[in-house]
Amino acid sequence: MNQPTNPSDRNRLSRRALIAGAGGAVAAGVFAANGGIASARRPSLARSAARAAGRPRSGDKPTLKQWYHGYGEEGVQEAVEGYAAAYEEATVEVEWFPADYDSALSSALLTDDGPDVFEMGNGPNIDMILSGQVVPLDGVLGDAESDFNERMINRLTYDGHLWAVPQIIDMYFLVYRKSLLADAGLEVPTTMDELVAAADALTTDSRKGLFLGNDGGIGPLGGMVLWSAGADYLTDDGAFGFDNDSVYASFGKLRELYQSDSLLLGAPADWSAPDAFLADLTAIQLTGLWTFPQLLDSEFGDDFDVMPWPALDASTGVPSVPVGAFSSTVSSKTADAEVAKAFVKWLWVDETEYQTDFATSYGFHIPARTSLAEAADVLQDGPAATALKLYQDNAFTQIPILWTPVADTAYSDARTRIIAEGADPAEEIAAVKAIADEELARIAAGETASTAPATTG
């Protein structure tokens, strides 16, 4: 029986035609890159078609359950269902969770009814890996490995195995009103002192200078306060990394901001939404790439740009933006890990058109593959181009894989005590270090106790 033309094939063709058309309109270099990807894809398409032709009929196809958290943007659900329907090697059932995805997922992974393939922010955590809930995805990236952001792949690798494939890159940064800075005669702040001064200078009766979240940035700034001081959660060899004076000084700047009158606190919507910035309640706001559609669409659409979190001072630390990736993972309870892995490879490594579509057609994300990010139309100019540059130059992955949730809770508690309650940073961070060291020891012990290859199923 010959392979019939099914509707999903037509879908794919029209998508391809669409992208080819769009490609023609952009610069020649980008066009070449597009052509490069398309031609690189052709053999794999031919292979998969040949495989499909030789396969038993669709009734015998294995079934995969794929879970997504509810992306807020219109059309994403239909899009991912479309990708799933276009997969020929297995029947993929998409489940979509408008709310409470994390707890639904963690409960389901304890049972046999959970998903085969699912996404998680920055992949599975270390305890999920050590307890064998997920299988390694070694070899899934294939030749494309060098096309993925290296830091992100390192973040998703543990014990020499890759545990998830990044789907899209998200990041956060400071958004600012260009005209307000210009009117106040300010340059874009590059040090913490300049940021504190700018926040103060931009504060008026009706508008604050800076919005870092209703908790004063205690939640979201965990990484930035360290990178700003030239430190990180862990050192390169995996030891606790931030008990030094520069970090204490960096915390001192946040405390200074918290006590100043220039920080917006108690806004109706928190930092992850652009509302405070759009309602003109603040001149500078910490927020994420996902707010770009609303920002570009607003009255400040031509008047904003983005900047990284500044370095502590001219000689210490670097500017930083935290990046994270919803990443696709395979459950160890799946019937046949190879089938699930093949699907992950197909959707998140091979099908570059779907990846670009997923990242840029609905909300606003950076495609995980560098070549796609550089080719994406929407990332070519304006604040989006600045954001892409920040991603290339200043990106830090949010939390290292060895930084466990227990250590992270201890650290966020310490941040509250230092920034909001004025506790001594050296003392608080020493307490975090004690807990983090225990956790690191626990993981090192778990590494030898539960061997990762035993979980490959």
Binding site: S106, G213, G266, A267, T404, R417, A420, E421
Partner: protein
């Protein structure tokens, strides 16, 4: 001899007029539900509390009472218990006084009695999550235009960030007022029921004996007669305070960053982050839950002893 004993066994099982059978027909489904959805999870969490159970509910590594030791020596768990004490110290007496006061007023209302009863009871139907959003986003937001800040400025104070700063701990005002608004109607109803069970002839006798209608009647007739209701209300209020979760979580957590401040963190919120949040540590979480259950049981029994709850069933 073979026939009659079999019959009588069947008879005995079914009971007179098949009473036993009907008992199980009616009670069975609920009993089964309690076993499956309440007892089994409780037993299982006691089992889990004795194991190292990270990211699994079928653990294999028995650790004895180590999880209990860890929880009892965990300063954050102990501090969450202090948070509970602080919360209970506000919410229990406040709800009690407001509920009793409202019940006395509504009971005396000459006109529109049904209206007043409903209007104070309506908030009970509101969800904690919805109320938290309203409290956080519109009433107690930190903007000068927020409802609470508008009032503050009218009476000559600066506007402030109610939920964002631990010093001074204004977040307690937000949390306590929300719960008060949500639960006072329910306890008012309990007091109303108690009030209506007080025989009128007691008031008539008191009146004949020359008791004044106000304070003396309340002090010597109404309050003693409401003793059982009061005891029940206090026990329920305390248990509910122990179980506080929704308003704290929705008012104070930072969902965008997945963090929760260590101040104002009651036991259930702390255990939620350990067991059900990112940590997925069911061993420690269950040990904490068992400890919390024991505490609630001890408090309830002690309170029952002190107040005589459940001893006598007569008036009120």
């Amino acid at each position: 001899m073979a026939g009659p004993p079999a019959r009588s066994l069947k008879r005995r099982i079914l009971g007179p007029q098949n009473n036993n059978m009907w008992f199980w027909v009616f009670v069975g489904p609920f009993a089964l539900g309690i076993v499956v959805f309440a007892l089994a999870p409780i037993v299982w969490s006691v089992v889990l509390s004795l194991y190292e159970a990270r990211n699994t509910i079928t653990p294999t590594r028995f650790v004895g009472l180590a999880n209990y030791g860890d929880m009892l020596s965990d300063p954050e768990f102990r501090s969450s218990l202090y948070t509970f004490v602080a919360f209970a110290a506000f919410i229990v007496p406040l709800t009690f006084i407001f509920a009793l006061g409202l019940a006395l007023l509504v009971n005396r209302a000459g006109v529109a009695k049904a209206f007043f009863r409903s209007v104070f009871f309506v908030p009970v139907a509101c969800s904690y999550v919805v109320a938290s959003l309203i409290w956080k986003m519109s009433i107690f937001n930190g903007l000068p235009g927020g409802a609470a800040n508008t009032v503050m400025r009218l009476v000559g104070f600066d506007s402030r960030a109610w939920l964002s700063k631990p010093h001074p701990p204004l977040y307690w005002i937000v949390i306590v007022t929300e719960r008060l608004w949500l639960q006072v109607g329910f306890y008012m109803l309990l007091f109303l029921a108690g009030l209506q069970r007080i025989p009128v002839n007691l008031y008539e006798a008191a009146s004949v004996d020359g008791a004044s209608r106000g304070w003396q009647t309340l002090r010597f007739i109404t309050l003693p007669q409401l003793r059982a209701t009061s005891a029940a209300v206090l026990v329920l209020l305390l248990i509910n305070a122990f179980q506080a979760f929704d308003e704290f979580y929705n008012l104070l957590s930072n969902p965008g960053a997945g963090t929760y401040p260590p101040y104002g963190r009651p036991p259930l919120v702390y255990l939620y982050y350990i067991a059900l949040g990112r940590q997925q540590d069911f061993g420690h979480g269950s040990a904490g839950a068992v400890l919390l259950t024991l505490l609630i049981a001890i408090f309830t029994l002690a309170q029952g002893r002190l107040l005589g709850f459940g001893k006598r069933g007569s008036y009120g």
